[in-house]
């Protein structure tokens, strides 16, 4: 069974049909997905601004990360659940959409960027915790994070427009 026939099967399941055809369910899930941007990306952006030395200066970086990342994780969880439900409601069109594919790649890159930050420069955070302008590698991580997450949001939004739809027929 290849991926396409799996998605076709998925699209025919009762849950997928129910979300797709519901006048309330789909908008509610989508609104949840959009508003979780504030909790997820909002918190990430605050940390990134601190890493760039552009916001929340004077507060130790480890404190910003330690206090805000749990909130971001909560946002990420809700974002992932609502996002998977949106995908589930129309997997064939989504999977064939170029913006969806770019979005998934950007998502992976954003994850790699965060992981790299945490296992490298953040390990030595005690050395630069209170610097109002953190070292170059930390600034770079913050910059890449803002850039990659913005790309995720932009691709997610563009996915709704059908200029490049493969399933348009």
């Amino acid at each position: 069974m290849n991926l396409l026939s799996f998605f076709q099967w998925l699209e025919g399941t009762a849950g997928s049909v129910a979300i797709r055809e519901s006048t309330l369910l789909y908008p509610i899930i989508e609104t949840t997905h959009v508003l979780m941007l504030c909790l997820f990306l909002g918190m990430i952006a605050m940390l990134d601004l601190r890493l760039l030395g552009a916001g929340l200066r004077g507060i130790p970086v480890s404190e910003v990360a330690g206090r805000l990342l749990p909130l971001a994780f909560l946002g990420f969880t809700l974002m992932t659940i609502s996002g998977m439900l949106l995908f589930y409601s129309g997997p064939v069109r989504a999977a064939g959409n170029i913006f969806f594919r770019i979005k998934m790649v950007m998502l992976a890159l954003a994850g790699i960027n965060a992981a790299l930050f945490h296992v490298t420069i953040y390990r030595r955070v005690t050395d630069w915790d209170c610097d109002s302008t953190p070292p170059l590698r930390a600034r770079l991580a913050g910059f890449c994070s803002l850039l990659l997450w913005s790309a995720v949001v932009i691709c997610g939004r563009m996915q709704a427009y059908n200029w490049f739809d493969q399933a348009k027929g």
Binding site: M43, M46, G58, E63, V153
Partner: protein
């Protein structure tokens, strides 16, 4: 007062027409609107969650609000600056959309609340109950703005 002619004029403005007739302008403006939403949401949430006792608890809510004030103001400005051309491009649709009117009403309330009562609570030494209440009202108002904003697309 009949606002329909006004909204018809909005729709016929140069900006409205340009955005409506362009394939990519609306989506691009919409993306900036969304990215500003994340920033505005972040700046509001950090302070309101602090008032509720979550997040950056070692700092005072007043201090956080002061540090984040420029980001709050600029992201709000970006949201309004991107919201206006989108509105102009589909002013008639908005005129007939109940969520649009809810959004505008809640937006006025949210901004008014943020720059009056919430500001006073943040700078003054108020009791914990009033601080929490302020955060709940602020979050509810902004949530209402975002929620009804998204629903303009559906109704």
């Amino acid at each position: 007062m009949n606002l329909l002619p006004l909204f018809q004029w909005f729709e016929s403005t140069t900006i409205g027409t340009t955005v409506r007739e362009s394939l990519w302008l609306f989506p691009v403006i919409e993306c900036v609107h969304l990215l500003s939403l994340a920033m505005l949401g972040g700046a509001v949430l950090v302070v309101d969650l602090r008032l509720l006792g979550f997040g950056l608890r070692a700092q005072s809510a007043h201090e956080l609000a002061k540090k984040l004030h420029p980001w709050l103001v600029w992201s709000l400005a970006a949201m309004i600056a991107t919201g206006i051309p989108m509105f102009l491009s589909e002013a008639l649709k908005c005129y007939y959309s109940p969520p649009f009117w809810y959004k505008m009403g809640l937006l006025v309330l949210a901004v008014f609340f943020a720059f009056t009562m919430r500001r006073r609570v943040l700078s003054g030494d108020t009791g914990p109950l009033r601080r929490r209440l302020t955060a709940v009202v602020s979050l509810a108002l902004w949530f209402g703005v975002g929620f009804s904003g998204r629903w303009i697309a559906f109704y």
